[in-house]
């Protein structure tokens, strides 16, 4: 029987500097699969900026992803940022939203605003990321979190840790 050698293991805790809250592994799995496509292989790099997921297919590099928490009004919002080889956002995914109000940040119409942006671009609420009324705290928190993640990934790229 052939060992499923292509199934790569993601065994390292996804506990970033912010300390990722409980998030079901299958959620990360689904999110990465959705962004990079089915059949994506993932391994985990342990870096100075916390664990970074590396997405590969047939030994070619598709990009990277990080799972982070930001604080909303009083609950952590767990999100994933996936970037391509050039450090541009492929997508932002809200993995777990726990607040009573402000859940509009999970909407694709809001998250889509980040696509194509990199650490070199402006990633700020208001300009150009538009707010959703009634979800200002969450919108701001996630926007700041995405920007920090992009800056960390850019720093790792600069340091040669990421290709």
């Amino acid at each position: 029987m052939r060992a499923p050698t292509l199934i790569l293991l993601l065994a390292i805790a996804l506990r970033g500097q912010a300390g990722a809250q409980t998030v079901a592994p299958k959620k990360i799995h689904a999110s990465v699969g959705r962004v990079f496509g089915a059949g994506t292989q993932v391994d985990t790099l342990s870096t100075a900026h916390g664990p970074v997921l590396r997405a590969l297919r047939h030994d070619s590099l598709l990009g990277y992803a990080v799972v982070r928490d930001v604080r909303g009004k009083d609950q952590p919002i767990t999100f994933l940022v996936a970037v391509d080889n050039a450090g541009r956002v492929l997508d932002v995914d809200i993995l777990v939203y726990r607040e009573p109000y402000g859940g509009e940040v999970v909407y694709e119409s809001w998250r889509r605003q980040f696509r194509g942006r990199s650490a070199a671009d402006s990633v700020r609420l208001g300009r150009p990321i538009r707010n959703i009324s009634g979800a200002t705290i969450s919108s701001n928190a996630v926007t700041l979190g995405v920007r920090a993640a992009l800056e960390d990934l850019a720093a790792l790229r600069h340091d040669g840790v990421l290709r």
């Binding site: 052939r2 499923p4 050698t5 292509l6 199934i7 790569l8 293991l9 993601l10 065994a11 390292i12 805790a13 996804l14 506990r15 990722a20 809250q21 409980t22 998030v23 079901a24 592994p25 299958k26 990360i28 799995h29 990465v32 699969g33 089915a38 059949g39 994506t40 292989q41 993932v42 047939h58 009004k73 009083d74 609950q75 777990v96 939203y97 726990r98 009573p100 109000y101 859940g103 509009e104 999970v106 909407y107 694709e108 119409s109 809001w110 605003q113 208001g126 300009r127 990321i129 538009r130 707010n131 959703i132 009324s133 009634g134 979800a135 200002t136 705290i137 701001n140």
Partner: protein, 368 residues
Amino acid sequence: MTIRHVLLPILLLAAPALAAQTEPSTTVGGYGEFHFTDPSNATPSADVARVVLYLSHTFDERLTFRSELEVEHARIEAGGSEGEVALEQAFLDYRFSDRFTLRTGLVLIPVGIINETHEPPTFNGVARPAADHDLIPSTWRELGVGVLGRLGDGWSWRAFIVNGLKADRFSAAEGIRGGRQEGQKASFANYGLTARVEWARPGLKVGVSGFHGGSAGTDTLVGSGSFGAPVTVVAADARWESGPWSARALLVNVAVPDAERINSTYGSTVSTRSQGGYIEGAFDLLHLLAPGRPARLDAFTRFEKVNTQAQMPNGATADGSLDRTIVTSGLTFRPLSNVAFKADYQIVRTASGASEKEQFDLGLGFSF
């Protein structure tokens, strides 16, 4: 077919940190607003309108308690009629899934804009709009249970079953406001059903909401059954923002079809229909002067119509002074999104010409 061609799942081994339970935690927050008011028909005054302590506790990943304890007008005294200490909300949330939350306790009625989102930095003008006081009696909260959910991209909804209202405390000027039970030994002689559906995308949110509930209590002269002497509130609202521009609008209709029986029983002058709403536009002056900074200086104008006696039952005559047109213009300076310094000038005109006034207001609001 080799395994290489099979759609490969990504196997994520359950790492301890991922499987760890959310640590219980308690959060303290709050908000408040201070008002200075100088009306043309009375002496100027200043007031600690409200200071609210927000307390929440996270038991685990799914169970959270949240509460707001409010002090209005700074203090209460034994025997005094001023001031209030009250729970504005206190409920337990059970998050079944990302799309479905069960909420139980003293909940906010999800009607209009201000009732649910009432932190002072979120709205322009020192005082809340009159429609959010006399038509939608914010902060309107009742005891009950309900569900909150999200549907697809952009849609969310919530629906609750709560206690009914008390018709004996309805009034001409403030409509159903006095009839709220607010969690104090609330009578469940009547029930209320309330729901809201909302659609949002970046920069835009629109909602329709309603409340339908009985108000007769145990007084069979007024009505009987769980929905005796029904009150029906229907509202539509919209919030929009784009660059320096923002706008919001609200329309409300409150129907009390059995007003005649309520008036004959309690000697009141309740209308069968109250209605009103507002439209407000604002422009951020700092968007041009200091782009790239978080501070905002919004110049706004709100045009508002509120008539708590839009339609009267037999035996009652409308008081034209309660048919109000209110124009409020002013500035809101927000150094940060959760702190606001406010100034406005209000012009109140009435259908009868009585009780008209102009008013200058200053305010300070914050939330954290």
